[in-house]
């Protein structure tokens, strides 16, 4: 389904959890929902043909006090992309895992947990992935308070 029709459908069905929905470029839309509506939005996207997961990223905004998690999915028939975003409170970021809906986000969510501390409930394997096994608990490298030591 192409993005214009998708945005119509989202505005009708997800009106209670929708924060923002816009089209950035031809065939590229971005949708921001509240955390409790993520599963509903994801299911709606998958039913409309967006079943090819591309990536899961987390962005740390300390000045806003939130961690934003972005899911990029694409639809292979209409060749379009959707970015599904949500903002989680920075102190306790947790959201239900979307692994049941899109199988391919398994390793992406594991990496986002490891790097940013976002807990995905229902994910069966949240453990160390890219960092070494004896990395300290509670230290998340991609948060802004983790500073890299500057090289000379």
């Amino acid at each position: 389904m192409d993005v214009e029709r998708l945005l119509e459908e989202i505005k009708t069905k997800l009106s209670d959890v929708l924060v923002e929905a816009k089209i950035d470029r031809p065939r590229y839309a971005s949708i921001k929902v509240k955390p409790e509506g993520m599963v509903k939005a994801a299911t709606l996207l998958k039913e409309n043909g967006f079943n090819h997961p591309l990536s899961v990223s987390g962005v740390d905004y300390p000045d806003r006090g939130e961690v934003e998690v972005v899911y990029h999915v694409s639809c292979l028939d209409s060749k379009s992309l959707v970015a599904l975003k949500t903002a989680l409170p920075r102190g306790q970021p947790s959201m239900p895992s979307l692994r049941e809906i899109w199988r391919g986000v398994h390793f992406h969510e594991r990496e986002t947990w490891e790097m940013l501390g976002v807990k995905f409930e229902g994910h069966p394997e949240l453990k160390r992935f890219l960092l070494q096994e004896d990395w300290e608990e509670g230290v998340y490298p991609l948060r802004k308070e983790f500073k890299l030591k500057p090289e000379s």
């Binding site: 470029r25 090819h52 591309l54 990223s57 962005v59 292979l76 199988r103 992406h108 992935f129 070494q132």
Partner: protein, 358 residues
């Protein structure tokens, strides 16, 4: 009784990966992948380097396909800034990207034939890859990590004598790959080793997020160069290779035909090269905002999500690397198979751990 074998990091054929296998006799019951041996924290480094300084860093994210990775990052930066490069630069970028793609596919073929113990094909493929590396050295000055594509255009124009030398090499390679076809793809032992091994159905491939030649070998007709075109690909004429079986043989065959298609693209680009400048001015700072762009690298679709901060350093850079997505396919496929199939599946999915770890 199953024993747990570490198909491990100190293994001649495992790359930078440990697979913990639960093996019963000869059958692998379950796999667990342990990655992260080459994790360099490239995404964190991006927040500390300005956007020009980051181009060599992103090329090291995977140095067998360096120009394509650089192109992915540079396109994201340019999309954020909203600038468009001159026509000549677009064609030159296409030439560098396609040469890099041939390099990556030849290397993948060399490694896949090594898994069958077929060192002859490994050495032949590596031999011909040297010619492409020489061409890239003429073009950019370095064999492997070129740093040729930068935000705003390309770094230098093509040198004198490059077109003739390129035509020589490409004509030779066009004839030579049919030798590979006879030696490798029509070899009964190789077919026995790879046909029917690691079959990914179309639905599984789409849902797992598999990308690149692996997706096209399972019957999905999708190529970012044709469907979401960038640079000069909408003006060039090429075919997208699709196979239906989804086994390792189909994946190797798709890569093989893509080498032939890349040669066609480079010849057209050299012929149609327009005159003009090779670089345009870029604003000194990255504007605020965010965007996601994608390109087709040798191993699959590379997506870059960049959040600009108003300074010349990105606020957040996320690289969605192709091998990271194909890793889900590896763990999904390595169940209930004989142990001798594991290296075949691993190398036919063309997973190189450098871009899994970044």
């Amino acid at each position: 009784m199953p024993i747990r074998v570490a198909w491990g990091i100190q293994h001649p054929m495992s790359g930078h990966l440990t697979l913990y296998l639960d093996v019963d006799g000869d059958i692998v019951l379950n796999t667990e992948a342990d990655v992260g041996y080459t994790h360099r924290g490239l995404e964190k480094i991006a927040e500390y380097r300005n956007f020009i300084q980051y181009v060599p860093v992103i090329e090291r994210a995977c140095d067998f396909d360096a120009s394509n990775f650089a192109l992915g990052y540079v396109r994201a930066v340019e999309a954020l800034m909203g600038i468009e490069v001159p026509e000549r630069a677009k064609y030159l970028r296409v030439i560098a990207a396609e040469l890099s793609r041939i390099m990556s596919h030849l290397y993948a073929q060399a490694l896949l034939s090594m898994t069958g113990g077929f060192e002859t094909m490994t050495v032949w493929s590596a031999n011909d890859r040297e010619l492409i590396l020489d061409l890239l050295e003429r073009l950019s000055g370095a064999r492997v990590t070129h740093t040729y594509i930068i935000p705003g255009g390309v770094r230098a124009d093509i040198p004198k004598g490059f077109k003739e030398k390129a035509y020589d090499v490409l004509n030779y390679l066009e004839r030579r790959i049919w030798d590979y076809y006879k030696m490798l793809f029509q070899n009964k032992t190789f077919q026995d080793r790879t046909m029917g091994v690691g079959v990914l159905s179309k639905q599984d491939a789409i849902e797992l997020g598999i990308t690149g030649p692996n997706l096209r070998a399972s019957g999905v007709d999708f190529d970012v160069r044709r469907d979401d075109p960038y640079e000069a690909y909408d003006k060039l004429d090429f075919e997208v290779v699709v196979e239906k079986e989804g086994d390792s043989y189909a994946r190797a065959l798709v890569r093989f035909y893509e080498i032939a298609q890349s040669i066609k693209i480079i010849k057209q680009a050299l012929k149609d090269l327009p005159e003009g400048p090779i670089r345009c001015k870029t604003p000194p700072m990255l504007p605020r905002g965010e965007t996601y762009t994608r390109i087709e690298s040798g191993r699959g679709e590379l997506g870059v999500y960049i959040v600009g901060s108003g300074t010349n350093k990105p606020y957040r850079l996320k690289i969605s690397a192709p091998s990271f997505r194909n890793l889900a396919g590896l763990v999904y496929l390595c169940r209930d198979i004989p142990m001798g199939d594991i290296p075949v599946i691993y190398y036919s999915l063309d997973i190189l751990l450098l871009d899994v770890d970044r």
